[in-house]
């Protein structure tokens, strides 16, 4: 069994490394086979080893990575139910996306780099999931950052793409810093960085310390998960190829933050302040992103903001103390959002590589199949009744409601509002893309079969994943909560309240739909309003960061390099050097070639010596 567990990690790594080193020397389809094979193999290994994870999980230490003084970091795996479910999701979705990518990237000459990075990404993501200590987790954490950097900027010939990659890397790294500090602090407190070890010892800690560390972890999570305030990179990250957006920026990497918080939940949950902060970050992001999504014109950007918003829900769930709700939404979201992105990729192809929804329309005629798939995804996202998104979102909102106090009721209210906004922008998207006639002029580029096949399982999963954690009301057994060992997350509300909550959810869904239908059923060119412009630019957060961080940074840089380095330090050095040579010139000037001057020097010297003697005699 150990070997299966190792294979989960090793296969994607090997695939990535082999492709990176030798891929360009292999005949064309081989690297793709290797890449897909590696991930599918990993998925199978995960399925095979699932039994290991049940209960308290399974711990496997491979070798010592770093050991110095009393610090020790192992390459070790912690395969518990949480990790297992996440692994399953990551490998499963990744397998499908790899297959899709094989079709999507068919004509790309630089395929090898793409698949190498994609495999490495899966490896890094699985490292996050399976790591038994925070440092190894951090390795995966930064690893996904790098792969995301490389993949966003995959089409590097356009500087904007490379810049978007860089932005993603640096902004998420800001979050990583907080994570790193938390790691250091935890080690200083506990003398270990093992996740189990830390979680076992937290109970004795002071609440302020816990709060501080939890907040650090939260910030770390915010970076990777594109939560307020470190969210601005995600929309730009859509510059990458669509499979990348589907895998990294929808299904897996952006949910790593949620996973981290779930992983460290025993610690985080000790501080109510931190929990409130998490919930707040979640809902603020959800709201922010939902508003932004309203005004976006590029199909992938709409989806990106929706991702941000949905991840906000997951944060909210963690903040509410319900790990299973968070994980539930994480899973369902992974399915339908991957589906959405991949169908969006098909749509873009169909529209003749056109991203802008204002230049789409009538896509239903171009491919009814894609229409239905996309619609399935959208319905899940919008929370249409009985879809997976409906159940998972409802669980989160119900949990908020169940807390009962004003703060949480407020969260619930905002959550409902976001749900309405979500429904609105989903149907806006649907109408703009599918209704009416095609507004562009490009010829369609038919998606290959390889691109369509992986969509079916995802659509099915997206529509039915609600079964994973079906609440009692629908005579479900909350299987996920049980598997995760979090039965306390199962809500026990009265039937009437449950009906009320469900009714509200359905109501806002319908409301959103109706408003969208009203406004977007018939397409008309509109001048974007001031508010629209504001939302389109993501509340102008980029400008704010530019003003607050980027420009001062550059200014200080200029000051250092021109002011201090070239001015002060070089100036002092050159000044000293010039002083020396000037002095030298003056001294050599004494020897002007004339004997009489030399003799005068001699006499002055004599006077000097006699004077010195006299001085000594007098003093």
């Amino acid at each position: 069994m150990d070997i299966l567990l190792i294979l989960i990690l090793l296969l994607p790594l090997a695939g990535g490394v082999i492709n990176a080193c030798f891929g360009s020397r292999m005949p064309q389809p081989v690297p793709v086979f290797i890449a897909c094979g590696a991930v599918i193999g990993s998925f199978l290994a995960c399925l095979g080893s699932l039994t290991l994870a049940a209960g308290d999980g399974y711990r496997l230490v491979l070798f010592t990575w770093l050991k110095s003084g009393n610090f020790q970091a192992d390459i070790g795996l912690l395969y518990d139910p949480l990790a297992a479910i996440m692994t399953l999701m990551v490998t499963g979705v990744a397998s499908l996306i790899h297959l899709y990518a094989a079709g999507y990237m068919e004509d790309e000459p630089d395929q090898v780099r793409f698949f190498a990075l994609l495999n490495l990404f899966v490896f890094a993501m699985l490292t996050i999931v399976l790591a038994d200590n925070l440092l190894l987790l951090f390795l995966g954490w930064e690893g996904v950052g790098f792969c995301s950097y490389g993949l966003i900027g995959f089409w590097y010939r356009k500087t904007e793409n490379a810049d978007a990659g860089r932005k993603a890397f640096i902004v998420t790294r800001i979050g990583d810093l907080f994570f790193a500090v938390a790691l250091l602090w935890l080690f200083a407190l506990f003398g270990t960085i093992s996740i189990e070890g830390i979680n076992a010892q937290v109970s004795g800690l002071e609440v302020t310390t816990v709060t501080m560390i939890s907040l650090l972890l939260l910030f770390g999570a915010c970076g990777k998960s594109a939560q307020v305030p470190l969210m601005s990179w995600l929309a730009d990250a859509m510059a990458g190829p669509t499979p990348v957006s589907a895998l990294i920026h929808a299904a897996t990497m952006v949910t790593a933050g949620v996973y981290l918080l779930c992983r460290m939940f025993p610690l985080v949950s000790l501080s109510s302040t931190a929990m409130a902060a998490i919930a707040l970050v979640g809902i603020v992001t959800a709201l922010y992103a939902a508003t932004c999504a309203l005004a976006q014109n590029e199909i992938k950007r709409v989806l990106a903001y929706s991702t941000m918003s949905q991840v906000g829900y997951m944060f909210l769930a963690v903040g509410l103390g319900s790990v299973s709700a968070a994980m539930f939404h994480l899973l369902t979201h992974a399915f339908f959002k991957a589906l959405l992105f991949m169908t969006a990729g098909c749509l873009i192809n169909l529209a003749g590589h056109e991203n802008d929804i204002r230049r789409m329309g009538g896509m239903r005629q171009r491919s009814p199949l894609v229409f239905w798939l996309f619609l399935a995804g959208l319905l899940c996202l919008a929370g249409a009744p009985l879809t997976s998104g409906f159940f998972s979102k409802d669980l989160i909102l119900a949990t908020a409601f169940a807390h009962g106090d004003p703060f949480h009721l407020g969260l619930y209210g905002l959550g409902v509002m976001v749900a309405g906004l979500t429904s609105f922008y989903c149907f806006r998207l649907a109408y703009l893309v599918f209704a009416g006639d095609f507004r562009g002029d490009e010829l369609p580029h038919e998606p290959s079969a390889l691109m369509l096949w992986p969509l079916y399982p995802l659509a099915i999963l997206g529509l039915t994943a609600g079964l994973l954690n079906l609440p009692h009301l629908f005579s479900g057994g909350s299987w996920l909560s049980g598997w995760l060992g979090r039965t306390q997350d199962v809500l026990h509300l009265s039937i009437s309240i449950e009906y009320l909550l469900i009714g509200t959810a359905i109501a806002v869904f319908v409301l959103g739909w109706l408003l969208a239908a009203l406004r977007y059923r018939k397409y008309s060119e509109r001048q974007p309003s001031l508010v629209g412009e504001f939302l389109l630019n993501g509340w102008r957060v980029d400008d704010l960061f530019d003003l607050l961080l980027v420009r001062p940074f550059k200014k200080i840089g200029r000051f250092c390099s021109q002011g201090v380095e070239a001015g002060l330090i070089e100036g002092v050095l050159n000044g000293a050097a010039r002083g020396c040579t000037d002095l030298g010139m003056r001294l050599r000037g004494l020897a002007d070639g004339k004997v009489s001057a030399y003799l005068q020097g001699l006499v002055w010297g004599f006077v000097l010596i006699v004077g010195w003697f006299l001085l000594r005699a007098l003093v």
Binding site: R588, G589, A591, D592, G593, K594, V595, S596, L599, Q600, V603
Partner: protein
């Protein structure tokens, strides 16, 4: 001793100063050499006087050596004067300033 030592020293110092003045002021090489001669002779004077003061002959021997060496120096000096004159048609030391710095 007929003349007091002090007088002798003052005279010698004066002579030395005069010689030095000559060396410093004159630009003609021959005149400079003459100035040097005067300075050296002032030293001879002191030596003779001191020899008498200390009742020793050492000083007087030294004077003889001094004179011999001076002669040699002048010989070389004058040879150089001729050589220099051949080169630049002048023995003004001021014009020999090709090398400087």
């Amino acid at each position: 001793m007929i003349v007091p030592m002090e007088h002798l020293l003052i005279l010698a110092t004066l002579l030395f100063a005069l010689g030095l003045g000559c060396v410093l002021v004159r630009r003609n090489l021959i005149m400079i050499l003459i100035g040097v001669e005067i300075m050296i002779n002032s030293a001879g004077l002191v030596l003779v006087g001191a020899s008498a003061f200390w009742q020793q002959v050492d000083g007087q021997i030294m004077v003889l050596i001094l004179m011999a060496i001076t002669a040699a120096e002048v010989a070389i000096g004058l040879a150089l004067v001729v050589y220099l004159h051949q080169q630049k048609k002048s023995i003004d030391v001021g014009i020999f300033d090709e090398m400087r710095g």
